[in-house]
Each structure stands twice: as C-alpha cells, then as structure tokens.
Symmetry: C2
Subunit: 460 residues, 2 copies
C-alpha cells in the first residue's frame, strides 16, 4: 500500500523493517560517493530515498545498471523499501530502497528548474507551463490556499442559512447595458458572457430563497492589462433579503472574511510559511474602519501629503478612489486601526450602477439624494469587493433607468423580477483571485489564477 | 428581531405575550367571518397570521381600512404580534397581529397560482417566471437539494484529500477536436467555451496536485432538444493520479454517491417528502453492479424480450447503449441487484475519446486491444457519469491522435502535459442537473436548472 511522504515517519516508527511503497515525482538527485539520495515529492511533501549498492532491486538491476542510474528529474516513480528514522532527512525519515519502478519518464529538457527558486521563473513561463510550475511547492501552495478560501466562503454562508446556487453564464443581454461583454455565437443568434450573476442572485432573493451565494466565473471584456485585472475570474457572490442598509452587508463581509482567514490559518500553516505571509487575525478584521467616499478622499489626500509623496498642490489632489488612493487608505487603516482592511461606503450615484439604492429616499436635498447605500472593501491596497443595497421598488427602478441611459423596454426582464413582491435586499462579490493575491502578497493577480485569461493569453 | 416561521413555535413557548416580528411573502389569505387568516411564507416555511378587529395596528388603521384589507398575494410584509399556540395552525403556532407593514406590494396579475399545484404550471411558465415559480415550496425544494448535492460532493472529496480547482472556461480549441463548441468573440480572435475541464484536470494531476475536483459550467453546442440535454450544465468533475484501472474510479464514485445521498437524506427530509422521492440508501449504491459494454448489450436485449416490449427479431435488437438500453439496464439492476444504479465499463475504443486508456496494453489480440478502461454510470435509466483511465504516455498519445482524425501538431498543448512525467490517472464527471433530476423523478432535466439554456431559451 502506498504511504504518503507526510505519513512515512509514523510508518518508520510503527512498521519496523516492513517494506512499504511511496510514489511521486523525482524532485532532486544527489550523488554522495557510493550512495545516491533521491528526494521524492508527492502531494503531501518530500521524502528522502536512499539508493545504495546493497539495496539494488531485481527490477532495476535486471537492466544491468545501478538502481536509479537513468533517473531524470520529474519522472514519476514507485519506490519500495524500508522506512528508517534519520534526523538529517526531511521529516526525520528516509526510505531505504529495494526497488524503484519508473511509471513515466520525464524528458530531460525541463524549461526551468522545478525544485529551485520561484523568483527565478518568469511569470509567462510559470503560466505557459502549468503542469511543471505547479510542481514547485511554493507555487502549488497558492492553490491549496485558494481551495480553502472557496471552502470556507461556502461553509460560513451555509452556517448562516444561505443556499448555494448555480446560474447561467450565457445571457441575452448585459445587466448594465451591454458594454464590456464578450459575445458568443449561440446557434443562430448572439448571446453574452455574464459580467456578474447580479440579476440572478436578485431573482433568487425575490423568489423567496432570501439568502444565496454563488461561486462562479464572470467575464469582463476590458482591454486593460494590469497586475490587478483578469478578463475571466472567480466571483464569490452573496445576496440576501430583509436588510436596511449596506452596513449589514459590511458586517456580514467582516464576519465572512474573519472566518475565511481563520480557516486558512488553521488548514494552510505550511503553505503560508512558504510565502512568509501574514494572514490577518479575526480581531484585526473586526477593527476594519468604514469611511464614506467623501471622508476617504480627505484621508487619502492627507495621507499623500503625510507621506511626502505628493505636494499639497491642487494638481496632485486625488479626486477619485484610484489604485493609489486604495493603497493610501490601507496605509492609514493599518496605522490608525491596526487593520489591513477598510470599507468605503456612500459612493456618489454617478459611480454606481442604476440598481444601487439611494442613501436618502429622495428627500429632495440634492446632495444627500445623490449618495448611495454602496460600499467597496479595500484589502492591502486593492479593491476586493463591491456591494450595495439594491433598489427593490419596481417604479423607482423604472424611473432610474433613463437617468443611466437605459431604456425600460430593454430591461423588461430585469424589471419583471420586482413586479410581484421583492424584499429590501443587497449583496456583494469578492474577487477570489484578488483575495488570494493579497493574502500571499503576490505581485500579479494572474499568479492566483490557474489558467488566467488576458487580452493576449488564451492558452493553455 | 425577526423570527423565522420554523422558530415561531419555540418563541410562543418561551416568550409568552412578548411581541415578535415575522417577515415574508403573503402565501394565502382566508376570510372567516370577522377573522382573517393570512399564511406568511418565509425561507423556512409557513406561518399563520391572525388578523382580528381587536388587533388592528396604528399603521394600518391610520389608513382607515382594516388591517391587511388591501393585501395582495405574494406581497412582502413585516408582521408584528404575539405568538400563540394553536394546534390547528401549520406548525402548531400562529401570530396574533398587532401591525402589518407592506415592504413591497405585488401586482395583482400573477401569471399562475404560486401556492397551488405545481403540476398545473407548465414548464415554459416555470422557467419564464423563476422569481415566482421558485416561491412554490415544491419547486424551491429542487434547488435546496441541489445545494446539498454540491456541498456533499465537495465535502466527500476534501475528506479524501482532493483539492478544489477553478479552471478557465475559455479555451483556444476543443480537447476533442472542435465539434459542438460555442465560439466566443475574444478581442480580435475566436475562442471557445470549454466542453469539459478535461485537459485542465489532467494538467493538475500531472502537476502533482494528484487529486482534484472542480464544480463548474460546461458547454455543449448540440442541437438536440430532449428532456435529458442542456446546452450549459454544471459538471461535477473529479480526477486523480496513481490508479490502475477504471474500477478504482467506479469504487470512488460509489462511495461519493453514497455520501451525497446520505447527506441529502439527512439535510433535506422535508424537501424529499414534497416529491415523495426515495433517495437510495448507501447499501443499495454499494450493490450497484458493473457490467461490460458487451454484457450490457446482452442484458438489455434479454430485458427487452422479457418485458415483451420487443420481439426477439434481429431488427429490434439493441446494438448500442441508447436511452432505451439505459432504462432497461436499470430495470435489470433494480430487479437483480436491488440497486437504482449500474455501471457499464470496457467500452469499445470507437465509442470513447482518443485519450482513453486501452484495456490491454497493445498485446496484439485485436479484440482485447479495442476495448478501453472506461465506464458510464447509469442511474434510474439515465447516464449521469462518464469516466475513464486516461492515457498518460506521451508517445502512446501521439500515436493515437491520427487514428481519431486529430493532428499531433494541433494537440501540442495537450501533449505537452505528458512530456515531463505524468502518473497513471483517470477521472469522471457527474452531471449535477441529471443527478438532481433523477433523485426527485423530474420528467425534464431543465426543471433541475435554475436558468436552463437550450437552442431557443437564453432568457431569463
């Protein structure tokens, strides 16, 4: 029976002198005089194999060459032998080989050193060669953590009585008016790849499911090529009914992120260590401040002056929540509140989609009416979430559409959702790759996507 | 604080004479002389509200009309009152109202009766009006069960040390040669919607993750419009390394399905009851027989004769695993093995994709070499899974391609995955909607998709 690298120490302690089997990839080969050490890598870790003259197998020696003489790095092998304690070996154990069977021999022209320093492999090479780059434990750890993020996101929401939904990614038209959509040839017509499950998750709340979440791909046909954008990404979407304002959504997201971080800390300690990453503790998430859009601009401008990075001149003023502003806000949040996370709410209406709920219910005071029950979450200098309470009133929505250049007749499908009773509701979405990126401090969000898509990259 | 319908009995028992709040949709209204009974529906169930003259609220009576006089079915309300035990009310409790606030008034022209018999609503109407049809507890229950299926699928595989992955649905070309693909306008070129994450999950195994699963959308540009096909569906994908044959995959799928069914039984008892559905017990899943493709044809032909549904004439013989054959095989499996599930393995090579591993390793005996380590799972007369061990040898794959009309140069990206060491591996995929359909006995798979896509339907 196969024993994983991580369980070999226990096997050495328990089954003294009993032959066991290990299987995996050849990670490293070291010749030390008459003894050859091979490091085997499996999904659980590394294991030292010892190949000495005394331990030649019938299988290998039948070929007339010493055991493992023709091994190549990254070949897949099954190793059989006796586990033995050795304090100097990784994990304190080694396998003294009796036989070594090659299941799949790797070609000798590896495009980069799998067992080496990740920083020496360029991003393009990492992405072009996923079947090799993911063999590096540090690169693989990104996706072990991402798997935990997805698991924890779902687990927390299920605990809060949310239902997981799966909605179509092929839509007849875009919720927000058809810009930035990829068109699909769908039999004899065009449809579009969904920018978000916005309409569908709202439909589910109106339909009485009340609390739903979805984990799925979303598509943005945006031409920019930056370290923070992907044309296809995994959106962690949440929507719930019977809320009064975006503040309840912010509270939910704080609790959700605190839970996700706690799970990552619990389940991925070794992966975190490979990146020297610091995962925020739940208390620091709870401390995350919420500032209004207007306050945020004041804070980031003061922060820019403070850092001496910007003159206090009018021309250098930050007038919007730019990437620079996001960075400065988090610097401030960390210093003043001890939190890597900050929320910005009450965005002006012009910055948000038509369905965003107004802050005051049209009291007539121009300024107040122009703000919305919306928010962004900024984590370590990067927006990871956008959310809002939504307009649930049919007539108010129908009136809002023309102000956003949309025609009610084009949005009939959207409006229909609100015709037969829809509770006040709202939601948000977390970008899964951005959250992964910022947890580990990856320079580029593409590193947090197994097969990222950008303007040029559609392979592999 | 809001109390859900399911928790109101406990509230009545605990907080005697204390006012509480319920919120939800108006499910039914009954006038009984001087008393009006309203059934409120929330995500947890139904609750009886009692509106009597004595209990008129200031909010409603200020309008000069009796409490709830202008209520419409499906409007969203917040009800405040005193919970009281009443054996005749649903759940043994009712809320004696003090006030009733309407949050969202439903238009009076409901296209069908939400609180009525589901069988009287046509499928098209159910799908056209998801925000209404899902309010029917029976229709909603389909997706509560589907949420459990997805949860249990992931939970079982995580227990078995699998990692969840998310791969791109936009591919440069199709794994199986480009037929049945939807084309996407991707900036200045064409890409395609992935038919399956096949290549990606194999890449992950080769990359040393060894055991992966993915829950994601897949796309088939097939023109047929049947009760068993969708053009977009949720594929529950599994792939793992270090296997010897498809038999280990069948064993894994049995354990996985047994776990999923046990979770559905545990978590969705009320939902199952609405459909009078019988969820297979784990023992019956374990009893599921595996028959070879050849045996299967013998069984279904015998079964056809036995049922008197087919003459034993040559012209009526079943020569392939048609929908009729799938139905007959499950009849046989249920009668002979007491199982709703059956596996068919060892398909001839012509029926399976090029990457399927041959049953004998090219021993030269023509017959044996033409079979494969492949299988289908048939559940209650419907194929829900296709799987196989895959060819992991670079040279064998390169040699197989031309036999399937594929050119190695077109498949360079696929071949590259096997160049640097790939363990023997295999996997399978379960169609989530088909599994849901068959668990509940739904006539059409579209009923098990929130927003199904077929040749004509791309809305809502």
């Amino acid at each position: 029976m196969r024993i994983l690298a991580k369980d070999m120490l226990a096997a050495a302690q328990k089954r003294h002198q009993e032959e066991v089997e290990a299987a995996g990839w050849i990670h490293r080969i070291r010749d030390m005089g008459g003894i050859r050490f091979v490091i085997l890598r499996d999904r659980s870790g590394l294991l030292q194999l010892v190949l000495s003259e005394a331990g030649t197998s019938t299988e290998a020696s039948a070929e007339g060459s010493p055991l493992g003489a023709d091994l190549t790095l990254e070949s897949v092998v099954v190793a059989r032998g006796i586990p033995a304690l050795n304090e100097k070996a990784p994990g304190g154990v080694e396998l003294r080989l009796r036989s070594l069977e090659c299941l799949s021999k790797a070609a000798g022209d590896l495009p980069f050193q799998v067992n080496g320093d990740v920083s020496k492999i360029g991003l393009e090479s990492i992405l072009d060669n996923r079947s090799l780059s993911l063999r590096n434990p540090k690169i693989r750890s990104i996706f072990k953590i991402q798997s935990t993020i997805i698991e924890a996101f779902a687990a927390y929401l299920r605990q809060q009585d949310f239902i997981e939904i799966k909605t179509s990614k092929l839509v007849g038209s875009g919720t927000e008016g058809g810009t930035n959509l990829f068109a699909v040839d769908y039999f004899d017509r065009k449809v579009y790849l969904a920018q978000s499950p916005q309409l569908y998750k709202q439909t589910m709340v109106a339909a009485g499911l009340e609390r739903v979440f979805e984990i799925g791909a979303v598509y943005r046909a945006e031409k920019h090529d930056t370290p923070r954008h992907l044309n296809e990404y995994v959106s962690l979407d949440v929507e719930l009914g019977f809320i009064e304002s975006e503040k309840e959504l912010i509270e939910l997201e704080k609790n959700l992120l605190a839970y996700i971080f706690a799970q990552v800390i619990e389940k991925n300690a070794a992966d975190i260590a490979l990146w020297n990453a610091v995962i925020p503790d739940p208390a620091s998430v709870a401390r995350a401040p919420t500032v209004s859009y207007e306050e945020c601009l004041k804070i980031v401008n003061a922060e820019a002056v403070r850092g001496g990075k910007s003159a206090a001149s009018a021309s250098a003023r930050i007038f919007d929540i730019t990437p620079e502003a996001e960075r400065l806000l988090c610097e401030w949040s960390l210093r003043e509140h001890g939190s890597d996370l900050a929320f910005v709410n009450e965005f002006p209406r012009r910055h948000r989609p038509f369905y965003t709920y107004p802050l005051s219910s049209g009291s007539g005071t121009g300024e107040a009416a122009a703000l919305t029950m919306s928010f962004d979450a900024i984590f370590r200098g990067l927006e990871i979430t956008s959310g809002s309470r939504r307009q649930h009133d049919y007539n108010a929505l129908a009136e809002a559409l023309p102000k956003f250049g949309l025609r009610p007749e084009d949005m009939a499908g959207y409006l229909a959702v609100f015709k037969y009773g829809c509770p006040p509701h709202g939601g948000f979405a977390i970008g899964c790759e951005r959250l992964t990126q910022k947890l580990l401090g990856l320079p580029n969000v593409k590193e947090a996507s197994l097969f990222p898509r950008d303007r040029k990259r559609v392979e592999p």
